[in-house]
């Protein structure tokens, strides 16, 4: 995969930009332009998180595929998408968008001898990432329900107030 990796590294900024644009285009048209302005980390947390984390993911894909780092980055993005207006498949689909983004840049290169094998290897790395994205999505949703259960339990404790409100005899 060395040769392809070189190309991927050389085209990094273009591919990342395309990947980012594809992801952001899953938001309503009228908002996506705003999300693309990632200059402001605190004014545009969604856009800047996506932009920051996909770069880290990209580096891992070209590097050692450190599962801990991958999970942290995936989690940062998926956490956002799993509370937004997306279905499960829509929430994780952004991983696959890297294929389109990279292919657009490298289509010519793939005609070279032996590159196709490299590409297939790279694709399977992306697939691995996608599977981890599913885990992360499930994890996020579970976390949401955990939190909700905790809140309901707290509410239930407040309902116990009925007991507190029960009239009782004067204290001795």
């Amino acid at each position: 995969m060395i040769r392809l990796k070189e190309r991927l590294a050389a085209h990094k900024s273009n591919i990342l930009k395309k990947w980012f644009d594809l992801i952001v285009d899953t938001y309503p048209y009228d908002s996506s332009k705003y999300l693309k302005n990632v200059k402001n980390r605190f004014g545009n947390p969604v856009g800047s998180t996506i932009s920051m984390e996909i770069e880290k993911l990209y580096d891992e894909l070209l590097g050692d595929m450190d599962s801990g780092k991958i999970f942290t980055s995936l989690d940062s993005i998926i956490k956002i998408r799993s509370v937004q207006e997306f279905t499960a498949s829509e929430a994780v689909a952004f991983v696959f968008m890297l294929k389109s983004a990279a292919l657009e840049q490298l289509r010519g290169d793939l005609k070279e001898e032996g590159m196709l094998a490299d590409w297939l290897a790279f694709e399977s790395r992306i697939d691995k990432l996608a599977l981890q994205a599913f885990d992360s999505y499930a994890d996020s949703r579970e976390r949401i329900f955990d939190i909700r259960v905790r809140e309901i339990r707290r509410k239930a404790e407040l309902v116990m107030m009925d007991r507190i409100n029960m009239p009782r005899r004067a204290k001795e």
């Binding site: 009228d30 332009k33 302005n37 200059k39 980390r41 920051m52």
Partner: protein, 331 residues
């Protein structure tokens, strides 16, 4: 759609004087009657709108505080952002009206992952707005020379500053250039930003088109087709002195210009352009943050049903007694 209808409206507005003056020769109608009517509508409309607003009461003092309140003497009060009294409220209003302070807040330096400082696109909006409004003001002042006899010193100074660079012949007024750029920017951002396009209505495009056409027709006359200034002044002074005359050598372009201006001032009081008056009456900006110091009166303060202590004690007397809480009435 909104853009299309606004453009359509503008085209019609331009065609009217072309047909009316160029075709039918109704110069008196377009030079005198319509401007008078529009001006009348403008004055009456503005007074009507302001009265309509002013007549609505302000039940609560809902200042938006954008800085530290005045509380303890050793804590520095941000007087402009949380005005402690009417004087500072007036200063706050002035900073809004003269410098568009709140709009400027958008353009704060931002921290870029880097860390690098960048300025948001917000500053462009502020700059565009400032440039437009001030150019408009200067151009308005300059135009007064058409309506008064001997030109006043003040207008001369303003015009002199405006043509400071002494480029071209006739000498270029900086504001003519600036207003065209500013208007183009204000229009383009509505076209190009999807967010803004999404929120923009015909009522947002139309005034921009109208202003742009007015500025274009005006600059054309000054720099290219060369209007007869003496004739314009004759008309202007006639209108101002209520003995209107229509000089012969006024071009069609002039009638288009004056008709568009008439349309603008007639439309003004009934449109969002009244934001100019509204800002003075905006309750979050025109009141001091002295709520707990000076009581604000609500003229229609309603009587509402409340749950009185007596009712409360009546309901809970038994349990209160058992809990050893003091009571007003034992039974």
């Amino acid at each position: 759609m909104s853009i299309f209808y606004s453009l359509l409206a503008i085209t019609v507005l331009i065609l009217i004087p072309i047909v009316g003056v160029g075709g039918l020769g109704w110069r008196y109608l377009f030079g005198v009657i319509i401007p008078y009517a529009a001006f009348g509508l403008f004055i009456i409309g503005i007074i009507y709108r302001i009265l309509l607003w002013a007549k609505v009461p302000v039940p609560f003092k809902i200042t938006t505080t954008c800085g530290q309140q005045k509380s303890l003497p050793w804590i520095k009060n941000s007087k402009l952002e949380a005005p402690p009294n009417s004087f500072w409220t007036a200063m706050r209003m002035s900073s809004e009206v003269l410098f568009f302070r709140s709009l400027f807040r958008n353009s704060k330096a931002q921290l870029k992952p880097g860390p690098k400082l960048v300025y948001g696109s917000g500053i462009l909006l502020w700059l565009g707005a400032i440039c437009f409004h001030y150019s408009f003001l200067v151009i308005l002042i300059r135009h007064f020379r058409f309506f008064i006899g001997p030109t006043s010193k003040f207008i001369e100074i303003v015009s002199g500053l405006d043509s400071f660079f002494q480029i071209g012949l006739p000498i270029l007024y900086i504001t003519d250039l600036v207003i065209l750029i500013a208007l183009t920017y204000l229009l383009l951002r509505r076209f190009l930003s999807p967010q803004l396009k999404y929120i923009s209505l015909a009522a947002d495009y139309f005034p921009l088109f109208l202003l742009l056409c007015i500025a274009l027709s005006g600059t054309t006359m000054r720099y290219f087709t060369r209007i007869d200034i003496v004739a314009v002044k004759e008309l202007g002074m006639g209108l101002a002195g209520f003995h209107p005359v229509i000089p012969d050598n006024l071009s069609l372009m002039f009638f288009i210009h004056i008709f568009l201006v008439s349309s603008l001032i007639a439309y003004f009081p009934f449109s969002k352009l009244m934001h100019m008056g509204g800002i003075f009456l905006s309750p979050t900006r025109n009141m001091a943050n002295d709520n707990r110091k000076r009581r604000h009166i609500n003229p229609w303060n309603p009587k509402v049903e409340v749950h009185t202590y007596e009712e409360y004690e009546d309901e809970f007397r038994e349990v209160m007694k058992n809990a050893g809480l003091p009571l007003e009435k034992e039974e």
